[in-house]
Structure formats: structure tokens, C-alpha cells
């Protein structure tokens, strides 16, 4: 038995010997030369990459976007105006409440910007997505110039996707999923808003699945001021109605999750976001 062990060891050593004829290490054959930096690259470096380790992808890279969608790159002139809005209505409030460490830990490491929206076969189109807790893609920037309505829309899109990132890093309570279990549907586009609210969803898209439901709750909560949020709940039937009750249950879980997991007070976040949205709109 002992002799067998030595023989096996010898065979193992021979395998290494067989590999010893490899060429000497040389310089990488891959082109590692960085692209020349433009003023836009400098701005991104100064505002996103250097401090927060966020890479902003605005140039077309085949494997950075979905191959199924017909997309075009973002117009370079639209990059900074969009990122400035995001700085104010998303980055600033979260840093102010959660602190730099929290933000660096949770911020997406990549923000990809795409010029066109992602038209899909079912007639809908994709405006944003979050992946693997590390990346947010925002689409349709070429056709969505920044105006008063759009600031709120961009803020909503980004808070929605960032909520996915937070959920991907730390899951929300499973109790959230039980509130509307059985009501999520792929036919969410075929339902009117009144019906959606009546069933306890804050928006049509919230009806698509529980993760979208949670992201829609957070994003609409911070985008709407208290009065508009309350109006939505009233439109769900008011106190005692099924839709209202479910939305309040979801609201409670959402508030607790953000407080317990990230020490973020969503009421305070909402106030900060409201102020920043108003400021951005005023500066347009």
C-alpha cells in the first residue's frame, strides 16, 4: 500500500514536469491601454468614480447590454445633465442620511446609460434594470430630455433600481410577499390603475412580482410627498378597504426594513428627496 502511494506521487510529479516547458512569462497580449480620458471622463471620475468607486458606462460595449434588445448608445451631451440629477435626488439624500460608508457599501459599482429605450415584443419598453446588487442600467436617455416631469421620473427610476440593489444585498422580510401572494400577474398591463390600487398595489408594475412591488413602494414613497402618497392610499379605497389595508401593511414592512437593515428613515429620506427634486426643477 505504501509503495502504491509513492508511485502515485511520482505520477503526480510527472504531470507538473510536463507543464514545465511553458514559455517564459511575457507582457500581456491583451490590450490593457486605457482609453484616452475626455473632459466627460474626468467629470465622471471626479464625481462618481474617485470617491464612490462607481463606474459610469456610457460608451457602447456589446456585452454590457442585453443582446435581445435593439439599443443605441447615449448621446454624450446628455450624460452629465442626467448624472447631476441623480447626484442630487438619489446620491445626496442617501449619503446625508446613511453616511459615506453606507453609501460606498451599497451603491451600485456600475451605472450604465443607454440612449434608446428597450422596446420589447409585448409592446412595453424597458426604462431601467438592476443586476446582481452591483449595477443599474438606465435606458432611453436620448429621448427623455430633462424637464420638470422628467426629473421626477428619473428620480423614481433610480430609486426603484437602487431599492433592488439594497434588496439584492439584504433581502426584505418574506412577510412582504405574503400580503399580495396570488395576486401577482404577468398581465399587469391589462389592469386599470383603479383596480391595481384596489388590490393593494401602488402601481401597475408593482403587480408584476413581489420584488418589483417592494421597489415600487419605496420609489413612489420617496417621490411623492406625504399628501400625494395619502391620495394614492385613499384611491385604494381608504381605511378599511382591502387595497388600503394591504398597502399600509406593505408600507410598515418597507419602513422597518429600511430602518432595521440600513438605518434609513424613509420619512426623512422622502423629505430630502422632495427638497432636491424641487431644487432641480427650479434650476431648469
Amino acid at each position: 500500500m505504501k509503495r502504491l502511494k509513492y508511485l502515485l506521487l511520482a505520477a503526480f510529479m510527472a504531470c507538473f514536469a510536463a507543464c514545465s516547458d511553458d514559455d517564459d512569462f511575457q507582457d500581456s497580449i491583451l490590450d490593457t491601454t486605457p482609453d484616452p480620458r475626455t473632459p466627460l471622463d474626468d467629470w465622471i471620475w471626479d464625481n462618481f468614480t474617485n470617491d464612490y468607486n462607481i463606474r459610469v458606462i456610457y460608451k457602447w460595449k456589446t456585452f454590457e447590454v442585453s443582446p435581445e434588445l435593439l439599443l443605441v448608445p447615449v448621446d454624450e451631451a446628455k450624460v452629465i445633465p442626467f448624472l447631476e440629477v441623480i447626484q442630487k435626488v438619489w446620491m445626496g439624500p442617501y449619503i446625508q442620511l446613511g453616511g459615506e460608508v453606507f453609501f460606498k457599501e451599497t451603491a451600485p459599482k456600475q451605472i450604465a446609460l443607454v440612449g434608446s429605450v428597450g422596446f420589447m415584443e409585448d409592446g412595453l419598453y424597458l426604462l431601467g434594470e438592476a443586476e446582481r446588487g452591483r449595477r443599474i442600467t438606465i435606458l432611453g436617455l436620448n429621448t427623455r430630455p430633462i424637464n420638470a416631469d422628467r426629473v421626477e421620473q428619473f428620480a423614481h427610476d433610480f430609486h426603484h433600481e437602487y431599492t433592488h440593489i439594497l434588496n439584492q444585498l439584504k433581502s426584505y422580510p418574506t412577510a412582504f410577499e405574503t400580503i399580495s401572494a396570488g395576486s401577482y400577474t404577468t398581465a399587469w398591463t391589462q389592469v386599470s390603475l383603479a383596480n391595481v390600487l384596489g388590490q393593494g398595489f401602488i402601481s401597475n408594475y408593482a403587480m408584476s412580482d413581489a420584488t418589483e412591488d417592494f421597489a415600487e413602494m419605496v420609489s413612489w414613497f420617496v417621490i411623492y410627498d406625504a399628501d400625494r402618497w395619502d391620495l394614492r392610499l385613499q384611491a385604494a379605497g381608504g381605511p378599511g378597504a382591502e387595497g388600503y389595508t394591504k398597502l399600509k401593511e406593505k408600507e410598515t414592512i418597507m419602513l422597518q426594513y429600511m430602518k432595521n437593515m440600513y438605518n434609513i428613515d424613509l420619512y426623512a429620506l422622502r423629505d430630502l428627496v422632495q427638497v432636491e427634486i424641487a431644487k432641480v426643477i427650479a434650476e431648469l
Binding site: 500500500m1 502504491l4 508511485l7 502515485l8 511520482a10 505520477a11 510527472a14 504531470c15 514536469a17 510536463a18 507543464c19 516547458d21 511553458d22 497580449i29 491583451l30 490590450d31 482609453d35 484616452p36 456610457y58 460608451k59 457602447w60 460595449k61 456589446t62 456585452f63 435593439l70 439599443l71 443605441v72 448608445p73 447615449v74 448621446d75 454624450e76 440612449g115 434608446s116 429605450v117 422596446f119 409585448d122 409592446g123 412595453l124 419598453y125 436620448n142 429621448t143 398591463t189 391589462q190 389592469v191 386599470s192 390603475l193 383596480n195 401597475n204
Partner: protein, 458 residues
Amino acid sequence: MKKREILWLLPLLFLLARCTVKEDYIFEESATARIKAYITACEATITKPEYGWKALFEPNKQSLGGYNIVMKFAEDGNVRMVCDFLEDETTSTYSFNESQGAVLCMDTYSALHYLADPRIPRAGVLGVGLEGEFEFVIKEVTADSMVFTGKKWGEPVVFYPAEERDWTGRMAAYREHIEKMAPQEDSPFFRALTMNNTAVNIVYDPPTRTIIYTYSDNVSKEILSASTRVYGTDEGVRLSPEIRVNGVVLDRLRYNQSTRMFEVSTPGVVGALRYSNTPPFPFYKSLNMLRERSTFACTPRIGSLSGNITGILELLLALIGGHSSYMTSELQLGYRNLALAGMKQFRIIWDIDGEGPWFSLFGALSFAAMDDLYYSTSYKLNMEILRDDEDQVRFTWANEKQTDNAQFDTNMSIQAGFAAFRLFITDPAGFTIVPSANERFYLVNLADSRRWLLLSKE
């Protein structure tokens, strides 16, 4: 016994180990090193011509015309472009990468991306674009040409060295001529292209750079339609495939600056392209063509107007003019008004209970209706055929209606759009029925050809 069997395996292991290092490579360098060298050579070639490269993009030879572009690639990674489909010069960046072999990629937004942009509506549909490309798989590179295939759609494209004049006037001339092919605002409907002793009626679609032409066969009198693609030239436009009608072949038009008219420049053919309020020839028995094998002719159907997101998107398309190629401007407002009230389609129904035709609206109880039940309300029309060629008709109101839902009937009848459509259809002047491609037919007002409606057989 078992131990001895294992010992016999050992020499075999040595053999396998030895096999891994003595391979003979066909190439002296690795694939990565070779493609890197190839890309370096491409970079050198693409930046070399003094005036850059020019290319004719033909994204789809079935349904799209040609788009010319001239590009100057700089060593700093920037590329300037001038083209015949956008007025302004663009500057963007380019790079090479390896995915399906060596690939040239215009990686920031440029003129080329305009052709690939899905936001450009095509035939009333968003999300398709003009099948443009901005990533090109390199197939062959010489000093005189660079041959690529588009990465998305796979169509071949060839870059040739450009001349100074491509930058200083040629693209602008191409664009100017192409733009002059577009119907002038408020122009008469008919555009007769006369060719010796025959004529065709053309309908030009600017985004796709295509023409649908209709003509009457000399012998059979049959009304036929075909399509051709349009390309800008120094003098005017080129048509491919050529128009072949009644023995006459035409492939070029020259723009005459003094007469402000396109004239035929194909040798041996005399003619010109003119607007006209009257049809260039009888559209013989076009009424029969419209009625045969179909219960009704209709506007595009708005798929699911029931207050949901899909419906809102479709309505949005209607509101931004996505259906403007289906009706004259006077009807568009009324169409939106009816759509908001729940209409999904306007129809002329040829026969209900042995009688007809009928002016009919089809749709839901309201835009915000939750159900998918569709209703119709139909008003009987009297139809008078105005000449023996059976291509001109007049409709009058017969004061008789049928509906399967009183509420839908009321909802429709009180709309301003209802009155607009009714007045249009029952205009005392009547209509010429003009066949187009794909079983579509224009109703063109006889007194004012700028008033028209495009209906499809369904």
C-alpha cells in the same frame, strides 16, 4: 489483485501527461496575438485615407432605400461623419474589439446610430428603426476598400476611400435631392410620373426612402402596384429596381432647379414628376378591388384600448402622429378624440344583412373600460358610382343604423371626431379609390385631393 490493476494504470498517466506540451501550432503566434496584430493593421488602414471613407448603407433591400455617409477616422479615436440623412456633421468615438472576429464599433452616438435608433417609427410601428448598424465585423481590408458585415442584421457594407467633394458638397446635394422627393406640405395627393406615353402614380415614404407606384396595364387595364427604393445622386435620385411599366424602363430622375421639378434622366425616356389634383389615369375597377374578398376596409386597429398601459402606449403613438400616414390632417384630431372615447377602428363595412355599405365605428365602452368586449355602431350609406371606370364613388347618409350596444353608440355619436369622419365620408364631391400596395386603398376627395384616408382590407 486490485492493487496490481491500479499499478498498470500508472504508465498510462505518464503518457497523458506527456501529450499536453508537444503540440505543433499551425500559427507561430496565439490567436489573441494574431487578432491584436490584425486590429493594429486595421487601425492603420482606417485612419490612412486623407478624406476618410465613404459608404452606401442599404440596410434592407426589400423595404428600405440607401443612405450615404462619409467618415474620417482620426488616430485619437474620434470619427467625424457627414451623411445624406442628417444636416449636421457628427463627431463620436470609435474602437476595435474582438467578439465575432475583429469588430469596428462606433461607441458613442453618431449619424450611424440614427439609422439604428429604434425610436424612428416605421410603418406606424415603434421599436424597429431603420435596421442600421454601428458595429461591423471586419471581413477584408485593403488600401482600396474595407469590407464588413453588420453585427446586428448581417448585411454587407463596403467602405471606399472618399474624395474631398464628398465632404464639401456631395452629401449635401444627395440630401437636398432626397428631401425634395418628400411630399411638399399641403401638396395635391396625386404625383404623376410621366414616362413617354404612360404614367404611374407614386407615393413616397421619406423615412424608408421607398416609393410605392401604381399604374394601369395598357393591355388588360388592370391596376397594379409595385415598389422601388430611392438613392440620392449628384443630379437627383436613382431608383432601384428600375420602374418598368408598359414597356418603358426608368431608373433616374434629375432635379431641375429652374423648374423646381424632377425630370426623367434615363436615356430614351421623356417625362417628369408632377403634383396633380386629378388622377393621372383611371384606377380601373378599383372599387371592386377594394370590396373583393373582404368584409370591410378600415383604419389601423388600436389594439387594446382599455385604460391599461399597453393601450396608453398605443394612444400615445396615435397622439404623436404615428398614424399620420393613414389620414389627412383634418381627420387626425377627430381620430384621437374617438380613440380617447374608446374607438378602436373606423370601418366601411360592405354588407350587413344583404345591405351596405355602412359607416361603422368599432371599440370599447370607454378608454378606461375594464372589459375586452368590443361593440360596433354602424350607419347605412348610399353609394353612387360616378363613372364607368368604377374607381370613383360618392356616399350619402341613409338615416338607418345598427348597433349592438346603445351606450357605445351614444359615446361615439356625441364625439366631435364622429362628425369629422361623417362629414369627410359623405362629402358631396365623392372620392377616387386609389389602390396602393399590401391591399391598402386611399379614398381621395375629388374636389380637394389633399383630403384623403388610407384604409386596409381586413
